[in-house]
Amino acid sequence: MLNCRQASELLSRSRDEELRWTTRLRLRAHVVFCRCCSSLERNFDTLGGLIQDKSADEADEQWTEDLAEKISRQISQQSSEKDQSDSGDQDEADNKKDH
């Protein structure tokens, strides 16, 4: 039988990965009888919502429009320039992040 500490770790993991069915079964068996861990599972959902903070999206709209316009204009200006060699160190680092 899992204790609450183990269950809380598995509740966190279950948000990020598919647990093995035996592990899922043990976790469910704990959560169904443990009011605290049952609450924690729902509270983790709430935390996820707070991190995503969708309320910020509305404020982003005008800024996104302006940035899109700026980048689009820059592309238009650069369309005749084919020389891509002048990218800095950070650009090279960014390229390495292409996984």
Partner: protein, 203 residues
Amino acid sequence: MSETQSEPDLLEGLRAGDPEAFRKAVKTYAPRMRRTASAIAGEDAADDIVQECWISVVRNIKGFEGRSALGTWLISIVANRARSHLRKTNRQDKRRREPIREESLDDLFDQRGYWKTPVSDWGSAMPEGLLESEELRNCFRIHLERLPEQQREALVLREMNGFSYDDICEALDVSPANARVLLHRARTVLFRMVDGFRETGEC
């Protein structure tokens, strides 16, 4: 992570240097990039970081091989730049962003591994509207900023951007076991913070 249906078409347009494709890509991805930059490096720096990223993307899009989803690549770039920015500013101002006290899980559980104090379901135990209140959101942002760097990044990449363990491990250069611990610790700290706010109304 969920991406737009037309990502291959969008990518083709970006590689061809089509201004309209860039406009569409910015509209699709920039809000999430901004939130990511803000969560890692702070709100004040987020706009500049995202703008710099797009300038870099304009230059480097032809080198993007498509081994990851476009959104994952963009978020990785923004997280990388936000991290660099944060380290630079932290070096300049040591007083900024004093890290939160690393809470031991032993504080929460007794020797047998059971909760020391009962956990309330926020959905039913919180005063109405508190979860949506600006005070709580501000307090939450402050605590998110004060998490240890890797915990914060892991949580932002996972919960805000839907990164897989593999993507998190690659972005943070940690093992899957480490990623699990980072995410669990980060969630536990923020859980305690919201719980404290619920009880006292203070940040």
